[in-house]
Amino acid sequence: MKAAAPMAQAVTTSVSRIGYGLVLVVLVLLPFFSSTYTQYLVIHMMLLAIYALGFNLLFGYTGLLSFGQAGFYGIGAYVCAGILLRYPSVLAGVLGGVAAAAAAAFVIGVLSVRHTRIYFTMLTLAFGMLVYSVLWKWRAVTGGDDGLVGIPRAPLDLFGLVQIPLRTVTNFYFFTLAVTVIALFLLYRIVHSPFGLSLQGIRDSEVRSHFVGVHVRKHRLLAFVVAGAYAGLAGSLLAPLESAVTPVISHWSNSGDAVLVTLLGGVRAFFGPVIGSVLFVLIRELVVQITEYWQLVMGVIVVILVLGFRGGVAQAVVDAWQRWVVNARAQPAHQQAPQPAFGNAAQAAHGQVQQAAERGESR
């Protein structure tokens, strides 16, 4: 988190680098000490993580709440399924799914990005449900409410030279892991680039962004397309994993999952959505074994989160860490440990500034 004092920041960076390395090692070794079912669960965590990371580029970094990401997820899944049913190459399927989702995101983005806040959210909600209804009704192409079945877990065909079969869960696990690492790395670079900084500027003050020379609408559209592509990627991976796709994956409640998972893990942390995905899948697995009402449990968790821990798990951990650092070393007055990004006071002050500036806006 940027607000840490320089020394704490340096320590945090090296500790986190070691941490990431360890996590990667564990993930690579996972199949050697766990069941197929566990690997299957982790694959789902990774899919959810990709989906939510894309969402958070829009929400945490650009300040746009999209409640329609499930639409792009569905498009990715169905297009990939369609390709795999005709041409069994998982690479072709995934690339096709991502491209289709990105294209759809471009079209929907052009229409939605000119609006902000509530209207943007409602438009994305509507478009997401539009995709859902098309998937449901267009029997001839999408199979209607039955969906598409019998999707082969096609082999990974690299330029006809190498063919890696993915039929076993373990093989698919490694494939998904590779894709996830690449996707994560790519997004990390985007977020820390000048473009990524401009998105955060747009989030913090749209007005100011105009007046430092940033083309706000263009940048928002680009962020929307990237988010759509990531949702499409997650959907594309789902098709060969489950061998079937149904319209329900595009329902708005699935869009809600992206929001939930991100807020669970922490909006202002890059890995927040990843943490949230892991927790979400774990909690669901555990709760389902105790009661069929796992949605109720999830709902209670969400309510507690919003009322008490708006920064998510990541923020809670960072706060605890920073409190430890502050106690270990006296801070000069102007660099006191800052309040959590979503603490009420900061929120209210920031909100007032934003609203005051926007009241004068007429573009």
């Binding site: 929400f59 709440l65 409640f67 229409l111 000119r114 609006h115 806040r117 509530i118 209207y119 959210t121 409602m122 438009l123 909600l125 509507a126 478009f127 449900m129 539009l130 209804s133 098309v134 449901w136 009704k137 267009w138 708005w252 409640s253 809600g256 929001v259 939930l260 807020l263 009402y293 949605q295 109720l296 999830m298 709902g299 209670v300 968790i301 969400v302 309510v303 989160l305 919003v306 009322l307 708006r310 979503f342 009420n344 929120q347 209210a348 909100g351």
Partner: protein
């Protein structure tokens, strides 16, 4: 396609629009006054329906009594929810409001499933409403006429409430400038609770009115809430007339859509909203606010 069929379809659209109108009315009022976007608003629609079904269908009470009691119970639940769950999120970003109320949806849906089990049968129609009325040579169920009448009456009553009564004027003033209102001695807290209770009662009425004709099921609220959001945005957030016109538009067009373009029917409402927002970015009757 005979005139009878077209007329009938239009009337069906009108009556189904009324449920959507009642649900959207509460949503737009709560947003207009409290500034809160309540995803769980549909849950109160569902609660109203379930309670009315329980009193009328299971316990055999008079329909009017069943509806009235269900409204009161829902209002009480609404008051509790407002005090403990809505008040803390009022000044937060809309994202958190949507998220918390989304969590409430999950909770309420599962609770309904736990308390009442699965889907229900439709109870018999009360004697007074049985049968049909003849409109321009087309038979149309009496109950549907009643529903249309009820919906229009509610619109008129609400309009009178907010435009002509003393309380209505205070509510509008508070919505425009809560700090000023508080400075002038208005108990803003109690007002918010009251408005929220009104909103959920409207939703409950929408649900309860459907008891003799519509199936009660868990998730019925979540099904309609998206449509209610669309209607509210389409009409302009915070505008009662907007919600009414929007609901009529969606209800009637969807009805004709089912008849003439069945494949596109589900998608129609979203297309309508997208088109309206393109032409009027703040909705039909909306003002720059959010």
């Amino acid at each position: 396609m005979s005139f009878q069929v077209l007329l009938y379809q239009g009337l069906v659209g009108l009556s189904s629009a009324m449920y959507l109108w009642l649900l959207s009315a509460g949503l737009t009022i709560v947003f207009g006054v409290l500034g809160v976007l309540n995803f769980a608003h549909g849950a109160f629609f569902m609660i109203g329906a379930y309670l009315a079904y329980t009193f009328y269908g299971i316990l055999g009470w008079n329909l009017a009594l069943a509806i009235a009691v269900s409204l009161i119970c829902t209002a009480l639940i609404g008051v509790v929810v407002e005090r403990f769950l809505v008040k803390p999120i009022m000044h937060l970003d809309h994202a958190f409001q949507l998220l918390l109320t989304f969590g409430l949806v999950l909770i309420f849906d599962d609770l309904a499933k736990a308390i009442w089990g699965g889907v229900f049968m439709i109870p018999p129609m009360p004697r007074i409403f049985q049968g049909a009325v003849w409109i321009l040579g087309t038979p149309f169920p009496i109950y549907n006429v009643f529903v249309i009448g009820a919906g229009v009456t509610v619109f008129v009553l609400l309009w009178l409430l907010f435009e002509k009564t003393w309380w209505g004027r205070i509510v509008r003033a508070t919505a425009a400038d809560p700090q000023m209102a508080a400075a002038l001695g208005v108990d803003v807290r109690r007002l918010y609770t009251g408005v929220f209770a009104l909103g959920v009662m409207l939703a409950a009425l929408g649900g309860a009115l459907g008891t003799p004709v519509r199936v009660v099921a868990p998730g019925m609220g979540s099904f309609m809430i998206v449509q209610a959001f669309i209607v509210t945005v389409l009409g302009g957030l915070g505008s009662l007339s907007g919600a009414f016109v929007g609901a009529l538009l969606v209800g009637v067009l969807s009805s004709y859509g089912t008849l003439l373009f069945p494949t596109v029917e589900l998608a129609l409402i979203y297309l309508i909203m997208a088109v309206v927002l393109l032409v009027r970015p703040h909705g039909l009757f909306g003002r720059a606010r959010a």
